[in-house]
Amino acid sequence: DVKVTQSSRYLVKRTGEKVFLECVQDMDHENMFWYRQDPGLGLRLIYFSYDVKMKEKGDIPEGYSVSREKKERFSLILESASTNQTSMYLCASSEQGLGQPQHFGDGTRLSIL
């Protein structure tokens, strides 16, 4: 079974802090994704990566950056956290191939005070 592990289930940070969310997958998947989930808005893609050191912006990249130094790890960085970044963050991975499903972690509920 594919396992996608997000380092924290719950996180509380202060406005202006630099925040790191970590995600690790154990299935050697090429593609990795970061989404945020907000009620009534569904999932919105922040960034994705299709190879080590490769990244592409999603629909809402502003205020975020990512890092993929190793194939199994994809980090989301909030450069200077703001209250409107309070949300559920979901990491996912998938194999190459356009019809491959995504495998999700259990999410990090991030609160910015």
């Binding site: 996608v4 289930r9 593609n31 994704f33 989404y35 009534g40 808005l41 569904g42 999932l43 919105r44 893609l45 994705f48 299709y50 592409e56 999603g58 979901l90 996912a92 998938s94 356009l98 019809g99 499903p101 995504q102 495998h103 999700f104 972690g105 259990d106 999410g107």
Partner: protein, 115 residues
């Protein structure tokens, strides 16, 4: 613009009755369509997908979905609902304009199965 719509925020159904969760899409070309389920405090789990072939797709936990090209729909169905099916369901479609692995998710439909 590529899009996917889930017109119902919530669907209530009695246990043992058939259920339908609706999804419509708008994409150029042939769509790649997915259904996912999210249980409380968990990530999304893949249920089933349509890429090509038979319009009726069978997936996990007894769910199936019917692809209808003329109505641009991909409704999720189950013949007999269980209380344990209560969850949040997401439809997703591959973004055919991006040339990459982007997928567009619907806003989700909360399914409540009543005992």
């Amino acid at each position: 613009a590529q899009s996917v719509a889930q017109p119902e925020d919530q669907v209530n159904v009695a246990e043992g009755n058939p259920l339908t969760v609706k999804c419509t899409y708008s994409v150029s070309g042939n769509p790649y369509l997915f259904w996912y389920v999210q249980y409380p405090n968990r990530g999304l789990q893949f249920l089933l997908k349509y890429i090509t072939g038979d319009n009726l797709v069978k997936g996990s936990y007894g769910f199936e979905a019917e692809f209808n090209k003329s109505q641009t729909s991909f409704h999720l169905k189950k013949p007999s609902a269980l209380v344990s099916d209560s969850a949040l369901y997401f439809c997703a479609v591959r973004d055919m304009t991006s040339g990459t692995y982007k997928y567009i998710f619907g806003t989700g439909t909360r399914l409540k199965v009543l005992a």
